[in-house]
Amino acid sequence: MQAAILLFPGINRERDMILAVRQSFGREPAIVWHKETELPAGTDLVILPGGFSFGDYLRCGAMAAQSPIMRAVKAHAERGGYVLGVCNGFQIITETGLLPGVLLRNAGLRFLSMDTMLRVERNDTVFTAKWEKGAEFRAPMAHGDGNYTADEDTLDRLEGEGLVAFRYSDINRNGSARSIAGIFSPNLRVLGLMPHPENLVDPLMGGTDGKPLFDSLAAA
């Protein structure tokens, strides 16, 4: 699996993501500047890391979604390529329309930096194969706008088609609809989620709960 990590101005978890990818994939990801118009040849997986692209000054992810590289990412997704968006990456993907819904301000209006528990809703995807279905794992959150919202029809469809990837299983701190923490595209090849599995891939940093995500991708 050849990964490319996108770099938008204001992104700040790219180094965390590089560490996680390097460890599981055994090779370096490509780093792609937002003004590029094409992905490196041979890219299987595009990763949009967390941070504050363009300061999140208008709406989280809104300005990054208009970056030149995002046209290439859309084309990549349409070709059936893999896309992973974490935190701000998830927000960018929803702003682009690759995944439905939006991430609103946390219900409590405060930034939330703490560990949360996530439940794996299905394990028959390239992103989740290394987990048991229904497994619960710990993942750090660090966001001010993680309140997943979509209209009822969209939510019903996501549930009905099995496109909910992860749910908050302990406390739904940010107020997300139906405790949704992450969702798949209908072809199960695009995943967006708010918490940061990439920050728990090393026992030294508190555990390896997030590593199965990267191991799953590496094995795909």
Partner: protein, 573 residues
């Protein structure tokens, strides 16, 4: 045209004697811009005129100290060819006027002090003091400060890994916001501020200049009164997104050999950065303000020289590398402008619209800066505590302690700070006595803490000063790390009052003794005086920020108890 005279000088914060010195140096009546330059350079904030005689007593040397006080931040050797660069700085007054922006820009300022030297910031900490928690104003200030620190730090992507917070009515109208940044650089790529090379371009990088916080540096040097709440000086608004771009752009530029000297524009922005760079290099500097990127129209030379607009840097570049430098800066969507050049005149010359607005010899501006050996008086020590009369049952007493504002959980605060970004945080808040952050690509880690207990300093400033250093040392040691050096932030009242100066001098004495005994030098620091409201001072608060190193991050010890272990007490109780 404003008349430049003693009255104006006084309103700029200079006293009669200082005004006399200005006339003597200039040999004529200075222009408004020149007076502005003198007033900020000679403000307490920039000149340390009340504190310098005492700060000299602090030990600043050790074999592992690479740069002690005098640079933008302290630099120590942490092994493997790496250096830790760190400093603490206050943003107390602005944080009372506008808590969110005051605290946010405080974080931004200290980050610039560290990355300007070539370090990637890897950790932020803070030391906070607030008033009585029952007061509505305290709630407003706590809320704004915490959101401001988080808002800025989270956005720039530097983890906030620790800090401390206390409450006391003495801080009701004068909270303390001390922010600390630690960064990592290669020892052979450390950047200093001394300008050199006659003819080299002086380059402005970052955000545009507006009329922000004009005279903020002098504001930080005069006492607060009820009226200042209404005066509402132009508050600076932080732009963490631009700061993030500035960090990445500067670090990228630092990979090349384009930079001769670099300095952030902190308090008194263009004035202090240009005067300090040229002064340290023993050269001269000429600026043409027409070329300064401006956010507002019709700005005067005076306004541009004193503006405190945030997220700006001043660089001296090698001329043959300036095109490449421009390309890097512009790639990050930042303003880049050549606004002057280095000269051999030993003077700062400021031109604007064809006029010479300032022409001042640099060395007297620095050397003749006022230095006060202010009278000191012994502080009245509070009465000894009487015998304990209440004999509440132990469990109740414990509940009371655990529930008190000074001891209760700090989770509400640090849960709003991103402490894991960067992927190197081994011990987050509430996991160990000091935060532990690993160095990317190495097994090494830094242990970092901030400490001070002001009520000890009220009781005895010397013991309190020593205790703060010792506590920081113990917190580092308790994680298994070797304590290396400290930065400090001396927060005190009005130094013109002998008893305040007495507290200051005693605290320094105590700190110096502890630093010497522990081989724990001071490599950087900041002094914040005039922390008073209506004549009432804050508690003496010499905040200490300490850094230690662990050769193997995996050896870090936390304080989570695991069942089956034995508890051992060491030392006399």
């Amino acid at each position: 045209m404003t008349d430049v005279n003693l009255t104006l000088a006084k309103s700029f914060g200079l006293n009669e004697e200082e005004w006399g010195k200005v006339l003597e140096i200039m040999g004529r009546t200075p222009s408004l811009t020149e007076l502005g330059i003198f007033s900020v350079m000679w403000s307490e904030h920039c000149s340390y005129k009340s504190s310098r005689v005492w700060l000299k007593e602090l030990p600043t040397k050790a074999p592992w100290v690479i740069h002690g006080p005098g640079e933008n931040a302290g630099v120590i050797d942490i092994g493997d060819g790496l250096a830790a660069i760190f400093k603490m700085e206050s943003h107390n007054h602005p944080s009372f006027i506008e808590p969110y922006q005051g605290a946010a820009t405080g974080v931004g300022g200290i980050l610039r002090d560290v990355f300007t030297m070539g370090a990637r910031p890897i950790a932020n900490l803070n030391a906070l003091r607030f008033g009585d928690p029952a007061l509505p104003v305290t709630k407003r200030v706590v809320d704004g400060v915490v959101r401001g620190i988080g808002g800025y730090g989270n956005c720039v992507g530097v983890p906030t890994v620790g800090g401390e917070v206390n409450f006391h009515p003495a801080y009701n109208g004068n909270p303390l916001v001390n922010a600390m940044t630690v960064g990592i650089a290669h020892q052979d790529r450390i950047f200093l501020s001394a300008a050199a090379g006659v003819g080299n371009p002086v380059v402005y990088v970052g955000s545009k200049t507006g009329r922000d916080g004009i005279h903020g540096a002098t504001m930080a040097s005069t006492e607060f009164d009820a009226a200042s709440e209404d005066k509402r000086p132009t508050v600076q608004v932080g732009d963490p997104f631009t700061e993030k771009l500035l960090i990445e752009a500067c670090l990228e530029l630092m990979q090349t050999d384009a930079i001769v000297a670099i300095q952030d524009m902190g308090a008194a922005g263009l004035t202090s950065s240009s005067v300090e760079m040229a002064g340290k290099g023993g050269v001269g500097i000429e600026l043409n303000l027409d070329d300064v990127p401006q956010r507002e129209t019709g700005m005067s030379a005076y306004e541009m020289m004193l503006s405190e607009s945030q997220e700006r840097m001043l660089l001296v570049l090698k001329p043959e590398r300036s095109n490449m430098a421009r390309a890097i800066i512009e790639k990050w969507d930042l303003d880049y402008a050549v606004i002057g050049h280095i000269t051999d005149t030993g003077r700062i010359v400021v031109k604007h619209k064809g006029q010479t607005e300032a022409d001042i010899p640099l060395s007297p501006l620095a050397d003749a800066a006022p230095l006060y050996n202010r009278p000191i008086a012994e502080t009245l020590k509070p009465a000894k505590l009487g015998p304990i009369t209440s004999h509440a049952p132990l469990d109740q007493a414990l509940m009371k302690l655990v529930g008190s504002p000074d001891l209760c959980s700090r989770r509400w605060i640090f849960d709003q700070y991103d402490s894991s970004v960067g992927g190197q945080t081994v011990k987050r808040p509430a996991q160990a006595d000091a935060a532990i952050v690993r160095l990317d690509g190495s097994n090494r880690a830094l242990a970092i803490t901030t400490d001070v207990t002001p009520r000890y300093c009220v009781a005895d400033a010397e013991v309190g000063g020593a205790q703060a250093v010792a506590e920081a040392w113990r917190n580092i040691t308790a994680t298994g790390a070797k304590p290396l050096a400290i930065t400090d932030n001396m927060n005190f009242g009005n130094p013109e009052k002998p008893e305040i100066m007495g507290q200051f001098a005693s605290a320094i004495k105590g700190m110096a003794a502890a630093c010497k005994a522990l081989d724990f030098p001071v490599v950087s620091g900041n002094v914040s005086l005039y922390n008073e409201t209506e004549g009432k001072p804050i508690l003496p608060t010499p905040a200490i920020g300490a850094v230690g190193v662990l050769a193997d991050a995996a050896q870090a010890v936390g304080y989570g108890l695991v069942s089956g272990l034995s508890l051992v007490a060491v030392g006399d109780t």
